[in-house]
């Protein structure tokens, strides 16, 4: 019997040479006359170990990483393909690696385990059970299950998913749509990408369930153009699902229909904002719409539309398979279930950490992350993307919970965490936040369009100015941030002040100021 060897085909692995590793393994095996089956699985999310090669043994899958193509010859010499663990890169049983063993993989149960494009793998590992259950339920029962699971929008805004679905279900109209926001543009986030590249069928299943629940027969997945691998995997998986009766007319002979299409973005960050995304899908500039009307009532092409993040939709199959209570049992307070934390930046062990809400930031940074990659003290962490606050060490004992973060004037958002070591210049990062807003603003509202440019100029004056001028400019900056916070149409202008003011309040030294934390907004 041939030995099964897994080499991830996820872009995080490809970016560090996984294809070269796969080629080297195949060549070395051929040269030695060995019978191996090479499987291109997804990523486990242990990204510092990529390329993480796994060998199937009777005891389980043994890992080796990070493997470079140059290591392959020595790996074969050590007998790794026979299950030997003598090579210095050997990690033992992958499922016992503490980083992974201590997680609660619900949404990401299959990531890295299966071949992402194998429908048989997907079904063997619990796939499509949720949809089969949903097809036996009334639409209102499906919506009720999602509501009582406590699932909140994982894109960052944390709005209860079931309530959104219920609005669409109750909205009049024969034509409704399911839109998946896969415009994952925030630095420090890659969980959506991992779903799409490592377990695309779960997103397809989640969208199909959403369609059946609210009475929509068509769905769109809007993926950013920076994710070509995700687009390719989704398109291949959609074709497979369709040819196997999981999509299209009369799916699974249920009498229900659902069609799905991938649409590619075009490099505009603002299209991650849901109304800008809808405009973009309609073929227009990605300009933010004023709300109301809510997209749930008047969304794509003016029709009732469910628009959810990838992770929200990818969690639905599990809820319909194992029940709302199963998911509800994880978490704390009003934050139910698990959060896929994405640990990134200057961190030794960066990757995907799916855990029930409630773990502290410090545990994530040190127990999982192992401290900074550079070995220098960590100075600040930005949680929730480019529009999230910077948190100083005094706030790292905060539990990961939407409400606990809101109480600190911070956002948990999608759970993306970017770590900066002591060399970070927080005034420069504050300037970058304003600059990014200026580059990516859609231009519809003045506080965002003009405010961001004035913000860059003001921070430049603070950084370059004399101490006396600095204080004046800080007053101006706070005033400007107040206008952006309260006067912007969407989160782009409305939340850019979070990184700016948190940097200013917690790290005044970097702005050439004495401590001004008493002015905390």
């Amino acid at each position: 019997m041939s030995t099964r060897i897994y080499v991830p085909g996820d872009s995080a692995a490809l970016a560090v040479g996984a294809d070269e590793v796969a080629v080297a393994i195949a060549a070395e095996a051929a040269q030695r006359g060995l019978d191996i089956a090479l499987v291109r699985n997804g990523t486990r999310g242990l990204l510092w170990l990529e390329t993480l090669v796994e060998v199937d043994t009777p005891e389980g899958r043994i890992g080796f990483g990070p493997v470079d193509a140059a290591d392959v010859h020595a790996l074969f010499e050590s007998g790794f393909h026979l299950g030997a663990s003598e090579h210095p890169l050997a990690l033992g049983l992958v499922e016992r690696i503490p980083y992974l063993a201590r997680q609660q993989r619900l949404t990401f149960a299959r990531a890295g385990v299966t071949d992402p494009l194998s429908l048989a793998d997907y079904e063997t590992h619990g796939g499509y059970r949720g949809l089969r259950n949903a097809l036996l339920m009334a639409p209102s029962e499906i919506v009720a299950a999602v509501t009582s699971s406590g699932l909140r929008g994982r894109g960052g805004a944390a709005f209860p998913t079931g309530i959104k679905w219920n609005t669409v279900l109750k909205a009049p109209g024969l034509e409704k749509y399911i839109v998946c926001n896969a415009d994952e543009g925030d630095s420090g986030t890659f969980a959506d990408r991992i779903v799409m590249e490592s377990d695309p069928f779960v997103l397809i299943e989640g969208m199909t369930i959403a369609g059946i629940a609210v009475g929509a027969t068509r769905g769109y997945i809007y993926v950013r153009s920076e994710y070509p691998h995700a687009i390719a995997k989704l398109e291949a998986a959609i074709d497979t699902a369709r040819s196997n009766g999981y999509l299209g007319r009369n799916l699974l002979s249920s009498g229900r229909s659902f069609e799905l299409e991938v649409r590619k973005g075009a490099g505009a960050y603002i299209c991650g904002e849901e109304t800008a995304l809808l405009e973009s899908l309609e073929g227009k500039r990605g300009i933010v719409r004023a709300k109301p009307p809510l997209p749930a009532l008047s969304g794509l092409f003016g029709k009732p539309t469910v628009i959810n993040n990838v992770l929200s939709l990818a969690t639905v199959p599990l809820i319909l398979d194992k029940g709302a209570q199963y998911y509800q049992d994880y978490g704390m307070g009003r934050s139910r279930g698990t959060l896929p934390v994405q640990l990134a930046g200057n961190i030794k062990h960066g990757g995907l950490i799916e855990l029930a809400f409630g773990v502290t930031l410090r545990e994530i940074l040190y127990d999982y992350g192992g401290g900074s990659a550079s070995g220098r003290p960590i100075k600040a962490v930005q949680v929730g993307g480019p529009l999230g606050s910077y948190l100083p060490e005094s706030q790292w004992d905060t539990p990961l919970d939407y409400e606990a973060f809101a109480a600190l004037w911070a956002v948990l958002g999608h759970g993306g965490i970017v770590v900066h070591d002591e060399r970070a210049d927080m005034a420069k990062l504050a300037r970058y936040a304003m600059e990014f807003c200026a580059v990516e603003s859609c231009g519809k509202c003045t506080p965002c369009r003009i405010g961001s440019t004035r913000g860059v100029e003001t921070i430049d004056k603070i950084r370059a100015g004399q101490p006396g001028q600095r204080v004046q400019q800080v007053v101006l900056l706070r005033d400007l941030c107040d206008t952006m916070l309260n006067g912007s149409l969407c989160a782009m202008g409305g939340m850019t002040p979070y990184p700016v003011l948190s940097a200013l309040n917690h790290f005044p030294d970097d702005f050439g100021l004495a401590d001004t934390s008493q002015h905390a907004a």
Binding site: S11, A12, L14, A15, V16, L47, W48, E50, E184, G185, D186, S187, G188, T189, F190, R193, S225, E226, Y227, P228, H229, R263, K264, G265, A266, G267, A268, Y269, S280, L281, E282, G283, K284, R285, G286, F301, Q342, L343, A344, G345, N346, I347, G350, G351, A373, Q382, P386, G416, V418, V419, H420, D421, A424, L429, Y432, F436, V439, E440, C442
Partner: protein
């Protein structure tokens, strides 16, 4: 009804590009939501969106030239001039910054001899910024052509660029 007013200067259409554009547009129905997919296909086929074809695109979708121009200029991806033969995009977002993306960009400037939105002296390489490639746990990251690379040190940058330059010089 969407013919350009006589006063508006329209860019000249190049016959070879016009033929290619017409063939590509024929694959898309004239619904506005097909505009972005069509623009991507045009750019994939021609390398950029020729300004001389904007009127044709507008006519195909029954839009005004201004509407098409608005879409083209809103999205960073769409180019109005042919790109360099090999485009290097360096991520400038926070996670990559925390791992030395600014220094990597400076190295790229020196190595290619050009700044952002510019080209190397021989025109073969273009240098562009990008804001997040989703490789934030393996920063810093960049793309060269269609390929994405993470944990890029200056030495790896030089090796990757040398590798990418090979087919370019062979073709020349």
């Amino acid at each position: 009804m969407n013919a350009p007013p006589a006063s508006a200067p329209a860019a000249a259409s190049v016959p070879a590009e016009a033929a290619l554009a017409a063939a590509i547009l024929a694959r898309y129905t004239n619904r506005q939501d097909q505009l972005l997919p069509a623009l991507h296909a045009l750019q994939d086929g021609i390398g950029y969106i020729p300004p001389g074809e904007v009127a044709t695109i507008a006519q195909h979708f029954n839009l005004s030239r201004a509407e098409v121009h608005g879409v083209l200029t809103f999205y960073h991806d769409f180019l109005d001039t042919p790109p360099a033969r090999c485009v290097v995009k360096v991520c400038r977002a926070e996670a990559c910054q925390s791992m030395g993306a600014d220094q990597l960009l400076e190295h790229a400037r020196q190595a290619l001899g050009c700044g952002l939105h510019e080209r190397s002296a021989d025109g073969s390489f273009g240098l562009e910024p990008v804001y997040c490639l989703g490789q934030c746990a393996s920063a810093p990251a960049l793309t060269i052509g269609d390929a994405v690379y993470a944990r890029v040190t200056p030495a790896r940058f030089d090796a990757l660029v040398a590798q990418a330059a090979k087919p370019l010089t062979e073709a020349a």
